[in-house]
């Protein structure tokens, strides 16, 4: 299928948003490697982080076929403003309650996004969405199980999960920052759009929170953390990129 300039730009923009979210949350979660609360969870969480980075690499590969640079160059040499990830994934890992809650909120958005993309008219992303269905299902099972466990275990763990949910909800809403390319993508049946994604996300997470006896903040307090999708980031992102790209930049031509 041939796309005109505007259509191609819209598809690339969508792919960058998806892949950058995955690369950055994958990198963040990998910071727990060796520090996880117990050995088994350390391995599981690291493995999930690795899955996300692997998925982002695949999407950068699709971008490469659309005329963008190769995946390593895309991942390690872009400036802060060229990243299209949401603010939520940039935030430091904090304590394990934040990392788990972020993973839960993000994983469900990602699962809904991939579910929508499995019906996309853009074939490479449609195939990719189907390919990673199992991986993403495990990611949501992992975070669902932890959220339910911690929300019901003791008063202390319940209160901490409720507090961290309150603190991270507006950041999570930033995942659904509307795209300037919404109309084009919708018309081409590539992607239904962020608003539709947000409703699907809410439909999934609310029943899980109910069964975990947690409450999402009231709608009057919703203030999505916006800007990430347009390249406007928090100070956490440049610090992360400095660390993530440090080794690559010593010798960008090195063969790995």
């Amino acid at each position: 299928m041939n796309y005109n300039k505007q259509q191609a730009a819209a598809i690339k923009d969508l792919l960058y948003k998806i892949a950058d979210d995955q690369l950055i949350i994958g990198h963040r979660n990998s910071e727990w490697t060796g520090l996880g609360p117990i050995l088994e969870e350390d391995i599981a969480f690291s493995s999930i982080a690795q899955d996300k980075i692997g998925q982002s690499q695949h999407i950068y590969g699709i971008l490469h076929t659309l005329g963008e640079k190769d995946p390593d160059t895309i991942a390690f040499t872009r400036g802060v403003k060229e990243f299209k990830c949401c603010h939520f994934v940039e935030y430091p890992i904090g304590e394990y309650d934040f990392s788990l809650m972020r993973n839960f909120l993000f994983n469900h958005a990602e699962a809904a996004r991939f579910d929508m993309l499995s019906g996309s008219s853009f074939e490479p992303i449609q195939k990719l969405a189907k390919k990673y269905r199992g991986e993403i299902k495990y990611h949501t099972m992992h975070s669902d199980t932890w959220i339910k466990q911690l929300a019901r275990a003791t008063d202390e763990s319940h209160n901490r999960m409720q507090k961290v949910l309150n603190d991270s909800f507006n950041l999570a809403l930033g995942i659904f920052e509307e795209s300037e390319h919404y109309g084009v993508l919708h018309e081409m049946k590539v992607f239904e759009g962020e608003n539709s994604l947000k409703s699907k996300w809410l439909e999934t997470i609310i029943p899980i929170f109910e069964s975990a006896l947690l409450k999402i903040p009231g709608q009057d307090s919703w203030k999505p953390s916006l800007g990430g999708r347009k390249g406007l980031h928090t100070g956490y992102l440049p610090a992360l990129l400095d660390e993530m790209c440090e080794v690559f930049k010593i010798d960008p031509k090195a063969e790995w």
């Binding site: 060796g34 520090l35 088994e40 493995s47 495990y138 199980t145 932890w146 339910k148």
Partner: protein, 137 residues
């Protein structure tokens, strides 16, 4: 907490001055025995243990520990405390006296008779067939 690992220092973990206190019950997680099934219909085989507070989390953690590098159809977890075992002191109950080797499967030689029958009737050995079909691939 000071560490040689910069990631630990970055976490700014509080000093734990209660480290010598005995843990409360919920903090002592249980061990679960993990059984792995390669294909549906095959038997589940014991592969190791995981630590977890609930069976649900034991399954979630077992998946990454025991299924991520091999073909898997299904996993079981069983609380280690629910496994009943013989005592190693009683291992002698498994010994057979030398006169009763007829009780052991290895005492029965029949493959030579089966092979002879197969040759006489032109039947190809199934193991051989599988080996040949693998080689073709």
């Amino acid at each position: 907490m000071k560490s040689h690992d910069p990631r630990i220092n970055r976490l700014k973990l509080p000093e734990n001055d209660k480290i010598n206190e005995i843990l409360h019950e919920p903090e002592n997680w249980e061990t679960y025995e993990v059984f792995h099934q390669k294909k549906r219909g095959e038997q589940h085989i014991h592969v190791g243990i995981v630590h977890a507070p609930t069976p649900e989390l034991a399954l979630i953690l077992a998946k990454e520990q025991y299924a991520r590098r091999r073909q898997t159809a299904n996993l079981w977890v069983v609380k280690s405390s629910n496994v009943f075992a013989t005592a190693y002191d009683d291992t002698d109950i498994f010994e057979n006296v030398p006169e009763k080797t007829y009780r052991e499967a290895s005492d029965y030689y029949c493959m030579d008779k089966i092979r002879k029958y197969q040759q006489e009737h032109g039947i190809e050995d199934r193991k051989e067939q599988r080996r040949k079909s693998k080689e073709k691939k």
